[in-house]
Symmetry: C2
Subunit: 383 residues, 2 copies
C-alpha cells in the first residue's frame, strides 16, 4: 500500500508513523517546508520525500491532505488533478462542508480525525495518536464503494474508529459540541479578566470552585488552527451563537422575574430569599436546572452505551455494484450511532454485484444495523 501525505504536521506525521509501524505501508510525504520534510524523515514518519504535490501522489493508493484548514480546498484540487484514477483521496480538516463540492469526484472522501487539536508540528507526532479515536468520514452518493472500503480499513489499521456522517450534519454537530464550547471558554476568560480589572482587584483567578477552570481549559486554543475553524464553520456557528444568545436571554428573564416578585413582596426585615423561592420564577429556575441535569444524563448516558467489550457480530449484505451504496449503508449506521468495526467488499465474478461484510460490536447495535441495511433494500444474512 502506498500512502501520500501532503502537509506533515502533528496529524500528517502521526498518520505516517502509524502507517509505517502498523501496516507496513510505504509513505511518501510532501510539505511546503523542506526542513519539515527532512525532520519527518528523520523521525520515521515518511519513507520518502516528494518535492511537489504531483510527485507525492503519482502512484499513491491513499492520499491524505493534512495541511492547515484554509489551504485544503486548493491542495485537494491539486491532488485530484494529479492522482491516479484508482486512488482514494481524503483530508483531515476539522470542518467538512467547504470541501463538499470536491466530492463530485468519486475518489474524494472527506475525513476528520478527533485527535490532537491542541499541539502542532511533526515533532509531536505519535504512532498511537489515533488509538480509539473517532475518525469521521463524509461519503456521498458518488463515492466509490471500493475506495471507501480501502480508506475505512486503513483507518482501522491505524487504530481509529471510522464513522460515516453527512458533511452538513458533521459541521452542525461540531459547531454545537466543539466550536461553541471553545467560544464560551474564550468568553469566560475575557469576562473574568475584565471584571478583575474593573474591580481593581489583583488579576489572579479568585478562589471559586472548579467550574471556571473546567469551563476554560480550552480557552485561547492554538490560534492558527482555531481562527480557520471559526471562519470555515462560520454559518453553523452563527446559528449556535444565536441560539445561545436567545437562551441566555430567557434565563436572564427568569432572574428578572424573580427580582420583580421580590420588589412586589419584600420582607421588611431581611428574609427576601424566602419570598423569592416561593414564587413562580423560582419554580421555573428549578425546572430549568432539572432539565439541564436530564439533558446531560441523556447525552452522556447514551454516549456510554455499547462502549464495553461486547462481542463483534458479522453481517453480510448483497449489494448492487454502483457508487453510493457503501456510502448509504455507512451513513445510515453512522447516523444511528452504530460503529462499523470493520468492513470488507467482495465483488461477484461478473462484477455486476457484490457482497459487503460488516462487523459491528454488540448484539443490540448488530440487530439495529441489520434492520437499517434491510430498510435500504439490501438482503442481510448473519453467517
Amino acid at each position: 500500500l502506498k500512502i501520500a501525505l501532503l502537509g506533515i504536521g502533528l496529524i500528517g506525521g502521526s498518520i505516517g508513523l502509524a502507517a509505517r509501524e502498523r501496516t507496513g505501508a510505504q509513505v511518501c510525504g510532501y510539505d511546503g517546508d523542506p526542513t519539515v520534510r527532512a525532520h519527518a524523515r528523520a523521525l520515521g514518519a515518511i519513507d520518502a520525500e516528494a518535492t511537489d504535490v504531483a510527485a507525492a501522489v503519482s502512484d499513491a493508493d491513499i492520499v491524505f491532505a493534512a495541511t492547515p484548514l484554509a489551504a485544503l480546498p486548493a491542495v485537494v484540487q491539486a491532488v485530484l488533478a494529479a492522482a491516479p484514477p484508482s486512488c482514494v483521496v481524503s483530508d483531515v480538516g476539522s470542518t467538512k462542508l467547504a470541501l463538499a463540492p470536491l466530492a463530485h469526484d468519486q475518489r474524494f472522501i472527506g475525513g476528520h480525525p478527533l485527535a490532537g487539536a491542541e499541539t502542532a508540528g511533526v515533532a509531536h507526532a505519535r504512532a498511537d495518536l489515533f488509538d480509539g479515536a473517532t475518525w469521521y468520514l463524509t461519503p456521498t452518493p458518488t463515492t466509490s464503494g471500493v475506495l471507501y472500503e480501502r480508506l475505512h480499513r486503513f483507518l482501522v489499521s491505524l487504530g481509529a474508529q471510522p464513522l460515516a456522517i453527512d458533511a452538513p450534519l458533521h459541521d452542525r454537530l461540531m459547531a454545537c459540541f466543539s466550536h461553541l464550547p471553545h467560544v464560551l471558554a474564550n468568553l469566560l476568560v475575557g469576562q473574568g479578566r475584565a471584571l478583575a480589572d474593573a474591580l481593581g482587584a489583583d488579576q489572579q483567578l479568585p478562589a471559586a470552585g472548579p467550574s471556571f477552570r473546567d469551563a476554560t481549559r480550552v480557552a485561547g486554543a492554538n490560534t492558527a488552527i482555531w481562527r480557520d475553524i471559526y471562519l470555515s464553520n462560520r454559518l453553523p456557528l452563527i446559528e449556535e451563537l444565536d441560539t445561545a444568545i436567545t437562551r441566555l436571554g430567557e434565563f436572564r428573564a427568569l432572574l428578572a422575574a424573580a427580582d420583580a416578585a421580590v420588589t412586589d413582596d419584600i420582607d421588611p426585615r431581611v428574609g427576601v430569599d424566602t419570598a423569592v423561592t416561593a414564587n413562580a420564577a423560582a419554580a421555573a429556575i428549578a425546572a430549568w436546572n432539572d432539565r439541564a441535569r436530564a439533558d446531560r444524563q441523556t447525552l452522556l448516558g447514551a454516549g456510554l452505551a455499547g462502549a464495553g467489550g461486547e462481542p463483534v457480530h458479522e453481517l453480510r449484505a448483497s449489494v448492487p455494484n454502483r457508487p453510493g451504496v457503501i456510502a448509504d449503508i455507512a451513513l445510515a449506521l453512522g447516523h444511528a450511532g452504530v460503529n462499523i468495526v470493520d468492513l470488507a467488499l467482495a465483488p461477484s465474478p461478473d462484477n455486476s454485484a457484490g457482497q459487503i461484510a460488516l462487523w459491528v460490536r454488540g448484539a443490540g447495535p448488530a440487530a439495529r444495523a441489520r434492520e437499517l441495511i434491510a430498510g435500504l433494500g439490501f438482503p442481510v444474512v448473519t453467517p
Copy 2:
C-alpha cells in the same frame, strides 16, 4: 471551645467532625429533622443534640448557620436573638449580600467555604472536607476584632484558609467565576440536546473532542442548592449575563463580517477559505482568540503565585482597640490576594489598644502586607 451548628448537612456535619477530631471543641447541633440530628450524633459529627435554635446557641463561643441558603436570614436572626454577647456567629452560604444587613450586629461575620457543593447530606460529611479550602469571610467596620480572630483561628484549625472579602465583591466574583460557568454548562447541554432532537439523530453525545465534556461537568448541579444560589445572586448574575450576551453578539458580528467579505470576494472554484482568512474579520478573530489565551494565562498564572512552600513571615502591628480595625486589615490583605495563614490579638493592659500578630507565607506577600498595613496608619514591626 463550644461550637453550635444549625443545620447538619454536608457542610455542617463536616464542621462538626473536623471540630471534634482536630480541635477538641464541644459541638452542639440542631437540625429541623430529628433523624438528621440522631444520624449526626451516630456519625460523631456532634456531641449533643439541641431541640431548638435557642438551646443550641445559649452557651456557644462560635455558631455556624449551615442551613439551605434561603433559610439563612431567618435562622441567623434567630441566632443573634438567642446567642450570648461574646459569641461569634457565622454562616456558610454561597452568597453573602443577602445577609449583609445582619452585620450591624458586631457578632455576625458572614462566611463561605469553597467545598463540597455537589453532594449533600450529613452522610457525606468528612473531617478533611476543608483541608486547604478557601473560606471567605466578610467582616465589616462594625466587626469585633476579638470575634474575628476567634473565628479565623478556628477555621485554620479545621484546615481551611480564611480570606477576607467585601460581601458585594464576593457576590460579583462568584457571579462571574462560579455562577456564570454553571449557567453556561446548563445552556450547552440544553442546546446540544435540542440540536440532537432537531436533527433526528440518536440522542447520544456525538464524538467531538473533550471540550464539551469539560464545559458541562457541572450542568444540572443539585437543584435545591443552585436554585437558591441563582435567586440569591440574581442581580450580579444578570449583569454577567448581559455582558455575556453582548460579548457573544460581538463575536457573532466578527463571523458575519467574515461571511460578508466572502460573498463580496468569492473564489469561483472552491477556495473560499483562503479568501476569508485574508480579510480583516479574520485578523480580528485571530486577535480575539489570542486575547483569550493571554487572559487565561493572566488569570491562571497569577493564581498560582505564592502557592508553594515558602516560609511563613510574622508581622506585628499596633492597633487601636476599636471595632473594624481587624476587618480593615483583613480586607486590605484579602483584596490584594495576600493570605493570612494565622493571626492573633494581644490587648494592652488597659485594653485601650492592642497588638495584632499576622503570619503570611512568602517574602513577597509579607512585604506587601507590611506596606498595606502601614498604609492604613498602623506601625508594623517584624519581630
